[in-house]
Amino acid sequence: MDPGRPALRRGWDVATAAIPAAFVALFFAFPLLAILERGLTSAEGPWLPAGTGGLLWFTIWQAAASTVLTLAAGLPLAWAIGRFRFRGRSLARALVLVPFVLPTVVVATAFLALLPAGYERGIWAILAAHVFFNIAVVTRIVGGAWATIDPASAEAAAVLGAGPWRRAREVTLPQLAPALSAAAALTFLFCFTSFGVILILGGAGRATLETEIYNRAARLFDLQAAAVLSLLQLGAVAVVLAVASVLEARAGAASTLADEDVVLRRPAGRERIAVVTVLAVSALVLVLPLAVLVHRSLGTWGALFHETPALLVEPWQAAVYSVAFASVAALIALAVGGLAALALAKRPPGAADGFVLLPLGASAVMLGFGFLIAFDEPPLDFRSSWWLVPVAQSLVAAPFVVRIVVPALRSIDPQLREVAATLGASPAHAWREVDLPLAGRAFAVAAGFAFAVALGEFGATVFVARAEQPTLPVAIFRFLGRPGAENQGVAAALAVVLAGIAVGAALAAERVADGRGRSL
């Protein structure tokens, strides 16, 4: 791009792009090829297993229904947080994010404990958990956009004679539309590829593409069917992801972009009642499942330190493995994602961005399954290697790192680097003195999120974790799969531990960010 850049700098550029590319090639593209080979070259040919049509249909409609319900539940909260200034607003913003960083297994366990007998598994449980999980997406994206819509445009419409409904329909809604569609697309994507929630809450006969891949590969050992379903899932996700990224790009260029301080005002009169009601109901909805989860865990904490037939280790040791794996995964994700972000930030936003985010949508289960069949023979027989777990988790976490770091790097004025150069700073010095301190906060946030994501990662980990080194989500899943209140209680206790560590890491990261820059 810049012909003024000396050759040394170009070598560095190549390295920043080549290392992440090589990592993705070995640990993402190669397993994908293994799936492709398995699915397309078997004796029976690449035909879809019976019932695939129904599977695909259920996958789509549960995601669509979850999206609609999430929008309905999230919009009032987005309105309250996006329009008004009140005491505890930043706390509310942070708390809304909590469900999103909760591992899916924790959310599923909580709803299992919360819902009355007879309803704790099935479509309603799935929808409720998806809404709980994704309210953060809607509130953050739509609320954030709402807070930047200049009230002057609605005021202008009012002066021109438009009543409240007309103003909402013709002024506010069109400016909000890009954010709404972006939030809907992301929610749909997350629900479409949802695994832990559906595996645990789905009950008998409720399967999506994602859970069916797991079912075929891990329970029925029908690797060929799993491979074909993976390919179908990949194609479907690619379509959803393409639509989502187009909608998201539009959200970036949305509306009039006023300063939040101008937009936010104190609620008055009836608004006050409405805001308080919305906040109270939301708080109840967000807190209740977790409270029930904690309640269910009471009395079973002692069992964490006893041997159990469910695991090869004592339950508390799963927490140690989880933290250790997630730490390594966060470091890998930070290194690989950070380098990819450096390479990406040098070019204008575009197609390459979407490519890096592919693993985000491309189904963790498929990744785990790919690892299973790709790394099973020498010289690539890694099945017994402990590091396969953090590598798999880092692939799921790295796209989050890229998403957080790239905008921070892009927002650094290139003149700062140039001025540093004219003051005698070599490119390496300029990077250390300018880029690193200015993007440092983003790196810290990314590290926290990468850790939280890796910690809760379930779909890929369940394939590659060794029985004697289970992570918390895997251990919780094992306990949930066994009968008896005692096992359910231990699962709840482990879920509380997992939730505590994940939320702690995410809140620490959010604190470092200090409210600067949206994390979604």
């Binding site: 001025v419 540093a420 150069a421 003051l423 300029a430 003195e433 300018v434 200015l438």
Partner: protein
């Protein structure tokens, strides 16, 4: 001291610099004056090493700078929007270049104090960058650029975005400061008054080529061609074939007279000078710079008196520069 020879830069298929020659003597300031899109910033970036030359050379002293990266050139640069490091305080901004040269801490602190004193910000070492006013930011940016004692200082429209009184004050301060420390500098601007006030000499840049280099006095007295004359604000240009007659407005006097051959059309005071415009009965227009009180009012019939010494004969606007279809403001 600094010498640019035949510098050529092509950006996006467009010739941003079309063979520029420029000499800057030690201790002098060359103001590079040109409209936006004329290649001024590209020229500065090429000298600083931030933009590679497609042809030609830059030499500092007797050292050719081809292949020397920006951080080893010993050339300072000050941007229009300051580019202060937002994460460092005033002292850390100013001492940045000293740190890159591994200057000892105490020596650096002394140098920072000396420079802040020089730019009129003494004692403000520990202010945060965010708390500075526009003028203070300029001063910090200047102190930072001067701290490592660059052999040449480049300034890219440094006073561009300031309000007028602050702008005018800083122009004078800058020139005095540069004269005091005998700083060699290249100062890029599109503002004629600024170029005349700052530059020991003024180089006029047009579509990637330097069309004239002269002292401000010489430039005013003898613009190289009609285009230069028009660009530096000379209005009375009468083009006849290949030549143009330029009449400087200070040599034109409008004398109220009912038998005159022109009528005043507008009167506009800017400080001590009133710019008067009048229209001859045959339709031609003429501009006069009036310095007294009570200039003739619009509508008054006047006799136009022209001092013969104020008329200069120059070549008509040369089409010497190849016409470029996309020569708009996209480059600057």
């Amino acid at each position: 001291m600094l010498s640019v020879r035949d510098a050529r830069v092509v950006l996006g298929g467009h010739e941003a610099l079309a063979g520029v020659d420029l000499e800057v003597e030690r201790g002098t300031i060359v103001a590079v004056l040109g409209p936006s899109g004329s290649g001024k910033s590209t020229l500065l970036r090429a000298i600083a090493g931030l933009q590679r030359l497609d042809r030609g050379s830059v030499t500092l002293g007797d050292r050719p700078l081809a292949g020397v990266p920006p951080h080893r050139r010993g050339i300072g640069l000050m941007f229009q929007d300051d580019a202060l490091f937002p994460h460092r305080d005033v002292a850390a901004n100013v001492s940045f270049g000293l740190r890159m040269q591994h200057v000892a801490r105490t020596a650096a602190a002394a140098r920072v104090a000396e420079l802040l004193d020089l730019v009129g910000l003494d004692g403000r070492e520990h202010r945060t960058v965010g708390s500075l006013s526009g003028g203070e930011r300029k001063r910090v940016a200047l102190a930072r650029a001067l701290a490592p004692a660059p052999r040449v200082l480049l300034l890219d429209e440094p006073l561009g975005a300031l309000d007028r009184p602050l702008h005018d004050r800083l122009v004078v301060e800058l020139r005095e400061l540069f004269d005091e420390i005998r700083q060699t500098a290249v100062y890029v601007t599109h503002d004629v008054a600024e170029a005349f006030a700052i530059g020991t000499r003024v180089a006029v840049l047009r579509e990637g080529s330097i069309v004239q280099v002269a002292t401000p006095e010489r430039l005013w007295a003898a613009p190289g061609d009609a285009w230069v004359a028009r660009f530096i604000g000379l209005a009375n240009i009468d083009e006849r074939g290949g030549t143009a007659f330029v009449t400087r407005p200070e040599g034109v006097v409008f004398r109220p007279d009912p038998r005159g051959d022109a009528v005043v059309s507008s009167s506009q005071r800017d400080g001590p000078v009133v710019t008067l415009r009048a229209r001859y009965d045959d339709g031609r227009e003429i501009v006069s710079a009036h310095t007294g009180l009570a200039p003739p009012a619009p509508g008054a019939r006047v006799l136009v008196e022209i001092d013969a010494a104020a008329v200069t004969e120059v070549p008509a606007a040369a089409a010497a520069v190849a016409p470029l279809p996309s020569a708009d403001a996209a480059i600057d």
